[in-house]
């Protein structure tokens, strides 16, 4: 699927769009409606797993804010994805505790294994890689979170085993 086709598919997903519009309508009743932009972007990302351009256009229209401003905000904050993430999102903790316990090696292992860098998606679309800052599980450092699950006390070997489990599952 090309990007334009993907974008068209998104724009025509009426159900999600209706949900988003309803959320926006709620916020517009407030005294400071524009202040809800970040909350709206969170909602959009929750629905679409990233922020597609047509969706940002919709937001611009509904909130009467220029698209350029929305784009500026969306790019400023690391939390927002502007491209679709992989099927499994790997967040590697680069917090201090994880770092002193060997997160750099785990990151190297992930780079070697997946052959992608931070913020990228593997060609098969299975994994994407992003940094995290302290997942609050320092007792298990170094840790990696895949989707919602935390994997701790990692070694390069253990990391590879975990990736293989996800790969095996995907084949099924």
């Amino acid at each position: 699927m090309t990007t334009t086709q993907a974008n068209d598919a998104i724009a025509t997903d009426d159900q999600k769009l209706a949900q988003l519009k309803e959320f926006i309508a709620q916020t517009q009743k407030d005294e400071h409606p524009d202040s809800f932009l970040i909350a709206v972007l969170h909602k959009a990302q929750e629905l679409y797993s990233y922020l597609p351009v047509p969706v940002m256009d919709e937001i611009a229209q509904e909130m009467a804010i220029p698209t350029a401003h929305i784009w500026g905000v969306a790019t400023f904050y690391h939390y927002f994805n502007l491209t679709p993430p992989g099927q499994h999102v790997i967040s590697i903790c680069l917090g201090t505790a994880c770092y002193v316990r060997g997160a750099a090696q785990i990151l190297q292992t992930l780079r070697d294994e997946l052959k992608i860098d931070m913020g990228q998606v593997t060609p098969d679309g299975l994994f994407s890689l992003q940094p995290a800052r302290c997942l609050g599980a320092c007792g298990l450092a170094p840790v990696v979170m895949i989707d919602d699950k935390i994997h701790g006390e990692l070694t390069p070997k253990k990391m590879i085993q975990i990736l293989n489990q996800y790969r095996k599952q995907a084949k099924k």
């Binding site: 202040s35 970040i38 969170h42 904050y77 201090t96 505790a97 609050g136 599980a137 450092a141 935390i150």
Partner: protein, 604 residues
């Protein structure tokens, strides 16, 4: 201990299961159904309660169970241990010694609440007083431990001025890092005429190795809600906002529920407890930008724009959110407020040092035996924290440094271990109190690499508004990178110092002003490591890849595993004979080192 607390703690059989992030990940939730099943089986179900709690601070021993009667803390509990605990402990009143974390009976100050684990001995839990004891999602639990009593007292017996005066008299200083006197901040906002006014709870927790605020909210969200309501009354604000990191879903869920429950009980909303005071709280999510922890950037973020700082004055207390007077305090600062009201400024003053009153929460982590959340009185020494509470360095390794203040702070070596924790002493030693990250570093870490780690973080998080911060940190990072790659030049250390001091002076906000600190403090305290890298091409911790060589020792059994993984075919040797690495070909990827099952490959 208060009567209320004793009552609440003394139900017939009360089993507390830690529902903090680390324990959940170690399988605490699987224990619950097993517990239920076993209690049923022995007919104990109707006399027992199982409750969940926030982090107890002993995460490395998770999952944690606290079993009453007996106040016994069990660690590393698996599902298979549950039948034994129920049968032995509950049925026969014989605590299971094998799983109990009981170390030293001298340390029994918290016995009634926390059992006799040594971990709690030097601690004093004021802001975390309920963490690990109450179910954070149950408002009745909080109410039974004098919850919202401080708010009720304030609304019935105290004028806003007297609340501000009490907080000022307590000597409480901001726990978000800078240590600004809270009472004074409130006084400025209270004096403003413009309305509406706002109070904000800063739960953006930016330090990338810290989880104090997250655990505090996960473990006892009502304390923060109550503190904010009291603050709102004191300064005349009608609206509160919690600005919290989107990366903290559990904390968000719990603070949201706390706000809803408080509202349902008439503790938030119109005419609270029948008074003329109306106040409500709203939640706003951050979106992963460290600089948004800075108060003016945070305000921009709540307003829905890019979170860039602006010059102060005007301070937020005068012109804050939407241009209106705003008090911004850290989570932990807010959590102190109900206690100050209940027990009085006079009592609060007795805890801590001359200039720093009360306690401080730290997220203790890194190379230390007990990692987790701790709360100690100000004035406790770093040594007591690391060795008595933290249990020292694991694996017989040697202590090298302790890092406080995260990317704005510094690394202190052994000779500073007796420094008491307070704002001034830590600053004098060359670090800062910071928001509570405390990372212990042992001989396996390279100090140049650590400095580079922090600078990479701040350089990446610089909002780009000021040139010294944006470009200066880039230059510094280049120099550090070349030093760690073995390409350092004479004069690099001096250049780092010059650049660092320039950035500190010329940046607009605290991010730029403090970004060079990790570098400057490691140069000050570990200069010889920088010099070794530059002049001898040596990294004593063997961390900087370019400066280590891999060698195969006589432990080699000739299995050939390393030869197969080497991407550049640098390893040769015949089966069952010691292999060798061709140093000219080796690209130092470390694959062979990680592969060898016989520890035959060493870094030198």
């Amino acid at each position: 201990m208060t009567k209320e607390r004793e009552l609440a703690v003394a139900t017939t059989y009360r089993i507390i299961v830690c529902d903090g992030t680390t324990c959940i990940n170690r399988g605490s939730r699987n224990l619950i159904s097993r517990l239920r099943e076993q209690l049923e089986r022995h007919g104990l179900a109707d006399r027992s309660t199982i409750s969940l709690s926030g982090c107890l601070g002993m995460c490395d021993k998770g999952p944690i169970l606290v079993v009453n009667p007996g106040y016994t803390i069990y660690g590393n509990v698996t599902e298979a241990d549950i039948p034994e605990i129920v049968e032995e402990h509950l049925l026969h009143n014989r605590p299971v010694a094998r799983l109990a974390i009981q170390e030293d009976h001298l340390y029994n100050r918290f016995f009634r609440v926390f059992g006799d684990a040594k971990f709690f001995g030097k601690q004093m839990r004021i802001t975390l007083r309920n963490c690990g004891i109450i179910d954070p999602e149950n408002i009745d639990n909080y109410l039974s431990l004098r919850g919202y009593e401080a708010l009720a007292r304030v609304l019935t017996d105290m004028t806003p001025e007297s609340v501000v005066a009490e907080v000022e008299a307590s000597g409480l200083r901001g726990r978000g890092g800078a240590g600004f006197p809270t009472g004074m901040k409130w006084k400025f906002t209270a004096a403003q005429k413009a309305t509406p006014k706002y109070v904000i709870c800063n739960a953006d927790e930016g330090d990338p190795g810290a989880f104090m605020d997250r655990s505090a909210i996960e473990g006892d969200p009502h304390t923060v809600v109550e503190g904010m309501a009291i603050g709102g009354y004191a300064v005349g604000a009608s609206k509160g906002i919690v600005y919290i990191r989107a990366e903290y879903p559990l904390a968000i869920k719990r603070i949201t529920k706390a706000i809803e429950d408080a509202r349902a009980h008439g503790l938030l909303g119109e005419n609270i407890l029948g008074s003329s005071f109306s106040f409500d709280i709203e939640i706003r999510l951050g979106a992963g930008a460290f600089v948004c922890g800075e108060e003016t950037a945070l305000i921009h973020s709540i307003e829905g724009t890019r979170g860039m700082p602006r010059p102060r004055p005007p301070y937020p207390s005068v012109q804050g959110l939407f241009g209106l007077p705003t008090v911004i305090n850290n989570v932990e600062t807010w959590a102190n407020i109900p206690v100050i009201i209940l027990d009085g400024a006079k009592w609060f003053q007795t805890v801590g040092t001359e200039t720093s009153k009360g306690t401080k929460v730290f997220a203790l982590a890194g190379k230390v035996v007990n990692t987790g959340l701790i709360e100690v009185p100000m004035g406790t020494s770093l040594r007591e924290i690391i060795y008595d509470v933290g249990g020292g360095i694991p694996g017989g390794k040697k202590f090298k440094a302790v890092q406080t203040g995260g990317p704005s702070g510094g690394c202190l070596p052994e000779q500073y271990l007796d420094t008491p924790i307070d704002y001034e002493s830590l600053a004098k030693a060359g670090s800062i109190m910071g928001s509570g990250g405390m990372i212990v570093i042992d001989e396996d870490s390279c100090m140049v690499d650590i400095a580079k780690f922090f600078l990479e973080f701040t350089q990446n998080e610089s909002c780009g508004k000021c040139t010294p911060c944006r470009e200066g940190t880039k230059r510094m990072l280049e120099i550090l990178t070349r030093i760690t790659e073995g390409k350092g030049r004479a004069g690099d250390i001096e250049k780092l110092e010059r650049l660092g001091n320039m950035i500190k002076k010329a940046s607009l906000c605290g991010l730029g002003q403090s970004a060079p600190n990790p570098v400057l403090s490691t140069i000050k305290n570990f200069r010889e490591e920088y010099e070794e890298h530059i002049h001898q091409g040596r990294c004593r911790a063997r961390v900087c890849t370019n400066l280590v060589t891999y060698q195969i020792t006589e432990k080699c059994v000739g299995c050939g595993a390393c030869r197969k993984v080497c991407p550049v075919v640098a390893i040769s040797g015949t089966a069952k004979k010691q292999h060798v690495i061709d140093q000219d070909k080796c690209v130092k990827c470390g694959m062979c080192f990680n592969t060898c099952k016989f520890d035959a490959i060493v870094k030198v």
